[in-house]
């Protein structure tokens, strides 16, 4: 990044100021100078906090405590992996994150593609249809969570139960969707997909519209049917966009926080069944005031995410993608 920015300004400014050697030396700093706002930003908001998190994770630090921070080496880490309670809770949170990602990434990407193909047709009233699909994204999550709590509410008062009861003749009518550990995470997954699939859809839609129509015409001349056109023209045409969509969905899945916080902290839900690493970090650091422990969790989580990102990028590169 730095080498690039150094090259660009040099020829543009050089001819006019060739005389002055003082300014020539300035050229050497032009690149770093131009890069500095971004670099300083990165350092302050990314590098420094991460380094501090690493440092904090070696200390016993309690918020609102007059006691000085105590250096304890790797104790926070050994606790996270050996203390039966903590390791079970942290493992469960990680498992919830992975389960969420494993289900949401493929389902949401395919669904986004399907919806995009659907709304890409040139039919009358399509704008209205598109608007409706896009709407969940416009509403604040705090608002939609209130509605979804009513949908998932247990007993026949819940909208979902009422609907199921209607179709099953009253046989299925009182499941506690969020309260029962077996369906709590699933409920959050469904709400999450409903809420954000339209965002991915818009990106895929833009890509779909950039696929040249001549390709379809040529395919039609070769007697390719609609399905063959979709597989051989559409999908390769938007391949990079699909990869991008899958990538950002993975990222969203791992930083899952709001949905869990809003749906399961309110009400009588067993927190363990839906806890994600992010909610656990916040809980440890700011409800229990145990900053050292939270920092250790952050560091481990960061390492896991880095690993996933590297694997994902390598896999994509091999197939000649972005």
């Amino acid at each position: 990044m730095t080498t690039q920015t150094q090259k660009i300004p040099a020829p543009a400014v050089a001819p006019a100021k060739r005389q002055s050697s003082a300014i020539l030396t300035g050229h050497r700093f032009a690149g770093p100078l131009f890069a500095s706002p971004a670099l300083i930003g990165l350092a302050i908001f990314l590098v420094a906090p991460f380094v501090l998190a690493v440092v904090l994770s070696f200390y016993r630090v309690q918020l609102n405590s007059p006691r000085p921070a105590r250096f304890i080496g790797f104790e926070q880490y050994t606790r996270l992996f050996t203390d039966p309670d903590l390791s079970a809770a942290f493992g469960q949170a990680l498992l919830n994150n992975f389960t969420f990602a494993l289900i949401v990434v493929p389902v949401q990407t395919v669904l986004a593609l399907g919806l995009a193909v659907l709304v890409n047709r040139k039919l009358r009233g399509m704008v209205v249809f598109r608007t409706f699909i896009f709407m969940p994204l416009v509403f604040p999550l705090a608002l939609t969570a209130v509605i979804w709590r009513l949908i998932y509410s247990r007993g026949d008062e819940g909208l979902l139960n009422a609907l199921l009861g209607l179709f099953s003749g009253g046989a299925l009518s009182s499941h506690d969707w969020l309260g029962s550990p077996s369906t709590a995470l699933g409920s959050i997954i469904v709400m999450s997909i409903w809420q954000s699939v339209s965002f991915q859809m818009i990106i895929v839609l833009a890509a779909l519209q950039s696929v040249p129509t001549e390709l379809y015409e040529a395919a039609a001349l070769d007697r390719a049917n609609k399905w063959q056109q979709f597989i051989n023209v559409t999908v390769p045409g938007i391949r990079n966009t699909l990869i991008f969509v899958a990538l950002i969905t993975t990222i969203f899945s791992f930083r899952l926080f709001d949905q869990v916080y809003l749906l399961s902290r309110s009400g009588s839900v067993d927190r363990g069944s839906t806890e994600t690493v992010m909610t656990q970090i916040i809980n440890t650091g700011f409800d229990n005031n145990n900053v050292g422990q939270a920092a250790a969790m952050t560091v481990i989580f960061m390492l896991i995410i880095t690993m996933i990102a590297i694997i994902q990028r390598a896999a994509v590169r091999q197939r000649g993608g972005v």
Partner: protein, 442 residues
């Protein structure tokens, strides 16, 4: 990727900025109050509450300023969700002369050397007029750090029409409270008369995995069953006791009778006959008129119990104007001020003289039960007896971890997890945190 790094960064930055303030550098000078001249301007911090509460507070302050001409009050209101953070992150020297605080946060403020004992600043008359339940909340290590205008209490609100149609007789005094078994029978009867077949509201909309769970839902159940959350500063052997396992399992067994109350309207709409909630819903519930009755919470073996305690007033540890601050606190606790304030928010008065003449909580009035319960104060949980009713939440600087874990355990038990397992895990987490902080002892 960037999102995760940014989120992690936000966590650690926030963490650092907070530790910077409460951490090792500030030290702990302890209270150093100067009486001052008894005149001039005093700074006051308070929570930005309901509009009516704020108006009442401003009115009381203007009454104070017109009642004498030497002391002026400079009031600063903070949004309620930021208030405790503001006090937490202020160094002791930056705190105002007089400040509002929430009951369970007091021990932590004292631990951090942020509060001054009131003994020499506030008059003896004011201190002795405080009801026992508020006094228990405001006392840390045998010193009084706060005085309160109002208190808080819990009850089962009943819909008389529904109770009568099910033929249910209900108790009106703490002594007559239903036992847990009787209560299960009552719920059975009521289930037949309410529209949805679920006659009970346990205020699930507040969330059990939070302060509501500890203070007002699990708390009274634990105390009434003869258990405690902590014993000798340890949760193991107290929170995970057989008594607590039994009481909380009983509470969870009522889930089948419980309306989840996701819309918060179960009681006013007549979907349920009984609502387990605090005095603060009275302004909404009073729409039922004379059909609204207050019933003590069920007795799990050691008499009915309710939580008590709420926002109260104290002095910053380093005030230079102790005498004037004391005068202001005396004025806040006068009958007239307490009346203005509690009329505005409907809370039970926390001073003996104001409680006895209260229009709501006084003898023979509609909420007399809640007033009675508050005057039968137990003090903190280790002093619970069969006959006392209102219990103060654990007074310890480790309260944040206690409330987090107790609420979490209650929610888990309520959604079907084994009670012994959930409570033992909570107890271990609390003890670990206490051990890390040397028991939060000074």
């Amino acid at each position: 990727m960037a999102g995760i790094i940014a989120a992690a960064a936000a966590v650690s930055v926030a963490a650092l900025s907070l530790t910077g303030c409460g951490g090792p550098d500030t030290g702990n000078p302890g209270p150093s109050v100067q009486a001052g001249s008894g005149e001039g301007t005093i700074n006051v911090w308070a929570v930005d509450g309901q509009a009516a509460e704020n108006d009442a507070l401003k009115k009381i302050i203007s009454n104070f300023e017109t009642s004498q001409n030497k002391i002026k009050v400079n009031l600063k209101l903070f949004p309620s969700d930021q208030y405790t953070k503001a006090v937490n992150s202020a160094a002791p020297g930056d705190l105002p002369d007089v400040l509002d605080f929430d009951g369970p946060t007091l021990a932590s403020f004292v631990y951090n050397g942020k509060m001054a004992p009131l003994k020499d600043s506030v008059s003896e008359e004011t201190l002795s007029n405080q009801t026992d339940s508020i006094k228990a909340q405001n006392t840390v290590d045998d010193a009084v750090y706060g005085v309160g205008m109002m208190n808080a209490g819990l009850a089962l609100w009943g819909n008389k029409k529904l109770l009568d149609s099910a033929g249910v007789e209900y108790p009106t005094t703490p002594e007559g409270a239903w036992t847990a078994e009787e209560f299960s029978g009552v719920l059975d009867k009521l289930a037949a008369v309410v529209p949805g077949g679920k006659p009970l509201d346990l205020s699930e909309q507040y969330g059990f995995a939070g302060e509501w769970g500890t203070c007002c839902s699990a708390g009274p159940v634990i105390w009434s069953g003869g258990g405690t959350m902590l014993k000798d500063n340890k949760a193991s052997g107290a929170l995970d006791s057989e008594a607590n396992v039994k009481s909380l399992t009983t509470l969870a067994s009522w889930k089948k009778y419980t309306d989840p109350n996701a819309d918060g309207l179960a009681f006013p709409n007549g979907r349920v006959a009984l609502s387990w909630v605090g005095h603060w819903t009275y302004p909404t519930y009073k729409a039922l008129g004379s059909d609204l009755v207050s019933i003590p919470l069920p007795n799990f073996g050691k008499g009915t119990k309710t939580a008590s305690g709420t926002f109260a007033w104290g002095m910053g540890a380093t005030t230079k104007n102790g005498a004037a601050s004391g005068k202001f606190l005396d004025f806040l606790m006068s009958d007239e001020s307490v009346r203005i304030y509690t009329d505005a928010n409907g809370a039970p008065p926390a001073t003996k003289t104001a409680l006895s003449v209260s229009n709501l909580y006084g003898p023979g009035k509609q909420l007399q039960l809640l007033g009675d319960q508050l005057s039968k104060a137990c003090g903190p949980e280790e002093q619970i007896t069969e006959t006392c009713v209102s219990v103060t939440r654990p007074v310890t600087a480790g309260y944040p971890i206690v409330t987090d874990q107790v609420g979490k355990a209650e929610a888990a038990i309520y959604s079907g997890k084994d009670a012994k397992e959930a409570l033992s895990a909570a107890a271990r987490a609390i003890d670990q945190n206490f051990a890390d902080n040397d028991g939060y002892k000074k």
